[in-house]
């Protein structure tokens, strides 16, 4: 006997993500899911972003790592609330983990939550966490072929940050090919060039982020 099922395997995660989205939406919080391979610079970018925007917005960070609380400690030192999730080998965060972590934050007193996903360019792209939008970080030393090798991640992100651009002249990274590939995957996305350690490009990134924050709030209020 054949029984038609037609059920999405990740439907449980999708329901939880919608539930998270409702909770964040009700609190007027804009949630950003930051994804990249390990070592691309997500934490350093968040540190620089917090330095520049924490006087203006009430922010928190949910940190996803396989092991250790090193990134969470770095964020904590910046003076914003942070919740560490250790996936203990799991290669991505799931909506259920975000739901649990959100209980450790004072949602009444937040405007922006950054989720720093586990460093991995494959699985995090497939798991909706209930975020408003995704940002993918790629970095120059990884090479210019990442968009074509990991298309889903770049296709789903509203912005792509190219980090470590201060190293461009020391590598064979082809910026033209990188930009062409990102835009062929996602012609509505924005590419922002940045060097988190040199401190360049943060103005454009923060301006873009504030614009998206205002846009998400305007959507919530139906304007």
């Amino acid at each position: 006997m054949e029984i038609k099922v037609l059920r999405k395997i990740l439907s449980h995660n999708e329901h939880q993500a919608e539930n998270n989205r409702d909770i964040f939406h009700k609190h007027g919080i804009v949630v950003i899911n930051m994804m990249s391979s390990p070592g691309a610079g997500k934490t350093t970018i968040l540190e620089g972003t917090i330095d520049r925007l924490k006087a203006k917005y009430k922010m928190a960070v949910i940190e996803g790592d396989l092991m250790t609380s090193r990134d969470a400690e770095r964020i904590h030192n910046k003076g914003v609330p942070v919740v560490q999730i250790n996936t203990e080998g799991g290669c991505h965060l799931s909506a259920g983990m975000i739901y649990k972590a959100s209980h450790e934050l004072d949602l009444e007193n937040l405007e922006i939550i950054f989720i720093e996903n586990v460093g991995n360019l494959v699985c995090p792209g497939a798991f909706d966490l209930g975020e408003n939008f995704k940002v993918v970080v790629s970095s120059v030393p990884e090479g210019d072929d990442k968009p074509l090798k990991y298309p889903l991640m770049f296709q789903e992100a509203r912005a792509c940050i190219l980090n470590k651009v201060d190293l461009l002249s020391h590598t064979n990274f082809n910026l033209h090919n990188f930009l062409k590939d990102v835009y062929s995957l996602n012609n509505k996305g924005t590419v922002l060039q940045l060097s988190a350690t040199a401190g360049t490009g943060f103005d454009d990134w923060c301006r873009w982020l504030e614009g998206e924050y205002q846009w998400e709030l305007a959507k919530k209020h139906g304007k």
Binding site: M1, I3, V5, L6, A126, L148, Q155, S184, L185, N187
Partner: protein
């Protein structure tokens, strides 16, 4: 795999099945799922269960998009630009599938 087994269990109970012969799933090429790895997990997870011996059939779906410039449908392979006009992806219409199609059992 945990989600998959949970859906299968619910279906077996709802339909009062005693034996499971086969599970057919559909996997899009953009999901990053490696069929051989999925099949390996299936063998491990089912070997000492009531489903031992049940086959897992994996249908792979090639990704496809509508071009953002000319609007035509084209397959997404190594190059993600439209082969006709070199435009980019306007909308992905296939390749993100990940669902259980059907079960076979008695």
């Amino acid at each position: 795999m945990e989600n998959m087994l949970s859906i299968i269990n619910a279906q077996i109970q709802a339909n009062n099945l005693k034996t499971l012969h086969k599970v057919k799933i559909v996997v899009g090429s953009l999901t990053g799922i490696v069929p051989e790895s999925l099949d390996f997990c299936w063998q491990i997870c089912t070997e000492n269960s009531n489903y031992a011996g049940a086959a897992l059939e994996i249908e792979q779906r090639q990704a496809a998009a509508l071009c953002s410039k000319c609007g035509r449908e084209y397959p997404l392979k190594e190059d993600y630009s439209c082969p006709l006009c070199a435009g980019g992806i306007g909308q992905i219409i296939a390749g993100k599938e990940l669902y259980i199609d059907y079960l076979e059992g008695d």
